[in-house]
Symmetry: C2
Subunit: 193 residues, 2 copies
C-alpha cells in the first residue's frame, strides 16, 4: 500500500546514491543528501533509522545478468563484459558501493554477496568443474571491479578514453579465460576460435 511519503523516500534514496557515489560513505553527509533531496535531515533519520541504514537501502543492487545458458560457449566472456559495462553506466549504485566498500564493512558484504550469488552461478555453469566456481567468479571480480575502479573512481585517463567496444574487446578474452580455461593447460586456449 502506497504511502503519502513515497515520493520523499524515493528522493532521499536518489540523492543518497548520488552523494555516496560521488563522495564515498563518510564524505557524503546526511545534511548534504537531505539538501539535495530538498528535505530536512531529520526526515532521513525517520525513514531510514541512521546513516548506515540509509546506505544499506541505497546500495540495493542487482546485476540482472542475462541467462547465458544458450549463448555459444565461446561468447560468454564477451556477453558478460558487455552486460557489465552497460549495467554500470546506467546506474551509479555500483560506483557508490565501490567507493563505500573501502571503509564500510556492510558495503564489502554487499559486493561479496553480488559476486557469490549473481556471478557465481554463471561461473558454475561454464567452468569445467563447478567446484571451481567461486575462484573463477573471484577472478572475474578482480578484472571487472578493477576496470570500474580505474574508469569511474580513479578516472585514469587512458582507461576513461576507451569506448565501450574497445574496452569489451580487451576485457572479453580475459573474462572468457577466467571462466572456462583449464588450469593446467595452455592458459589462453579458451581464447582461440
Amino acid at each position: 500500500m502506497p504511502r503519502r511519503s513515497d515520493a520523499t523516500r524515493a528522493a532521499i534514496l536518489a540523492a543518497a546514491r548520488e552523494r555516496f557515489a560521488a563522495d564515498g560513505f563518510e564524505r557524503a553527509t546526511i545534511r548534504a543528501i537531505a539538501a539535495e533531496a530538498r528535505i530536512d535531515p531529520s526526515m532521513v533519520m525517520r525513514y531510514y533509522g541512521n546513516k548506515e541504514g540509509l546506505f544499506a537501502a541505497a546500495a540495493e543492487f542487482h546485476l540482472h545478468l542475462p541467462d547465458l545458458g544458450e549463448a555459444p560457449p565461446a561468447e560468454v566472456g564477451e556477453r558478460l563484459v558487455g552486460h557489465f559495462l552497460h549495467r554500470w553506466e546506467q546506474d551509479d549504485t555500483l560506483v557508490a558501493l565501490l567507493r563505500a566498500a573501502v571503509t564500510q564493512e556492510s558495503a564489502v558484504d554487499r559486493i561479496r554477496a553480488i559476486f557469490a550469488e549473481q556471478v557465481g552461478p554463471v561461473a558454475a555453469r561454464h567452468a569445467p568443474d563447478p567446484a571451481e566456481a567461486p575462484a573463477r567468479a573471484g577472478l572475474v571480480a578482480t578484472q571487472m571491479l578493477g576496470f570500474a575502479l580505474c574508469r569511474y573512481v580513479l578516472r585514469l585517463q587512458p582507461v576513461v578514453a576507451l569506448d565501450k567496444a574497445e574496452a569489451a574487446a580487451w576485457l572479453a578474452p580475459t573474462i572468457q579465460r577466467y571462466l572456462t580455461a583449464t588450469v593446467n593447460s595452455d592458459a589462453s586456449a579458451a581464447d582461440r576460435p
Copy 2:
C-alpha cells in the same frame, strides 16, 4: 644532516601508513596515528603541516620495477605480475594509497603518476607501437589494482585463498596480452609459446 627528531618522524610515518592502510583517509585520525606512534598529535602538525601533508609523505611509493629489457619477451607478463605481488605484500603503502584514493584526490594523482611514470615505460618498451603505451599501462592497472582491491581491501575469500603462484599463473597471461597483443589480431596470440 640528521636531526634529533628523525626517529619520531619515522615513527609517525610508520603509524600513518598503518592507519591509512587499515582505515582509509578519513577514518584514520591524527589522534589515532599519534597514539600509535606514542607522541602528541601536535607533533604531527609540526612535522607534516596538516593531515594532507602527512598523507602525501606516507604515500611516497616506488614500484621498483626490475629492468625487463633483457627478459624473454614471452615472460614479461609473468615477471611483472610476480614483482607486483611481491612488492605489495611487503609494504602496505599501496594498500593505503588504494584505500585513500576513493576520497582523496591527491592519492588518485599519486596512483596516476605511478602508472604513467613507472608502468608506462615498461609498456612503451614491449608494446608493438610505443604510442599505445598509456592505454596498455592503463589496462595493466585495471587488472593489477583490481586484484589488489579484491585481495587486500575487499578480502573476497576466493581471491584471498589463491597463493602467490596460482595468482601469478592466472594473471600473467592477461598482463602479457595487455602489454603485447596486437589489437586487430587474435587477442590471445601473445600467450602462445
